[in-house]
């Protein structure tokens, strides 16, 4: 059986599921962030696969934008984490309970 669109989509779905598991189960802000990156990359893989099998480059341009926005997002998010660590001395979601009733 030759590798087709479905194979890539299964890999993409599995990677997305892994990222989601990391976001829900882990408690370290940095690892949560890496899991977010995994989910974004899973979406990228699906987009490139669709682009290839749909004979259109639009999907790849979309991935280009996703990568750019993800880079900006990581920079701002990590700066927020550092600022948070400076004031609260923690990088764990369990310790950040200001909004808890």
């Amino acid at each position: 059986m030759t590798v087709g669109l479905e194979h890539y989509l299964v890999v993409s779905a599995a990677l997305f599921a892994l990222g989601l598991f990391g976001v829900i189960a882990r408690r370290n802000l940095l690892i949560l962030y890496m899991s977010l990156e995994l989910m974004l990359n899973a979406a990228n893989l699906a987009l490139v696969a669709f682009s290839r099998f749909n004979q259109s480059l639009n999907g790849q341009v979309m991935v280009f934008f996703v990568i750019t926005v993800a880079a900006a997002e990581v920079a701002v998010g990590l700066a927020l984490i550092v600022a948070l660590y400076r004031t609260r001395r923690t990088a764990h979601v369990e310790d950040l309970t200001t909004l808890k009733l």
């Binding site: 030759t2 299964v10 990156e37 995994l38 490139v48 749909n54 480059l57 990581v74 990590l78 660590y85």
Partner: protein, 171 residues
Amino acid sequence: MSVALADLLFYLFAALTLVCGALVVANPFSRNPVTSAMFLVLTIVGLAGLFVLLHAFFLAAVQVLVYAGAVMVLFLFVIMLLDLKEEERRRIRAFGLVAGLVSVGAIFGIFLKALLETRPGRELPAPTLEGTTAPLGKLLFTEYLLPFEIVSVLLLVAIVGVILLSKREIK
């Protein structure tokens, strides 16, 4: 490249991506964020290999440059700034683990069911698209010129925002 070799490479890169992705989120041997970051690099490399197999050469290069280069360096710098020892003292909460497994099983089941029922790509002709740099650049600077410029503004905003956030106190 022969068809059989391409298939073999697909399984190789897919296994690399998924195994390393699993080790990013749940490593049984180490809960150190540095290990996670290193496995994230390997995941990115596996994804770049998959992009090459999909003939998206430019994106494969950008993926390695931006993610494995820039983003991972940022991650490692921030890990360096924070206290690492604390992570290993924390125990894993059973509720988070169970909730994670249930929701992940549910969403993966939905994805698989959708894939099996629709079977996308079965009737499509053999792909001939080449994602080389020139046509991608042409598309980027004609049809997608406005989004491209907006993204540059977004990057500028991100730079200014990060500098503002990193200052010790805002006057």
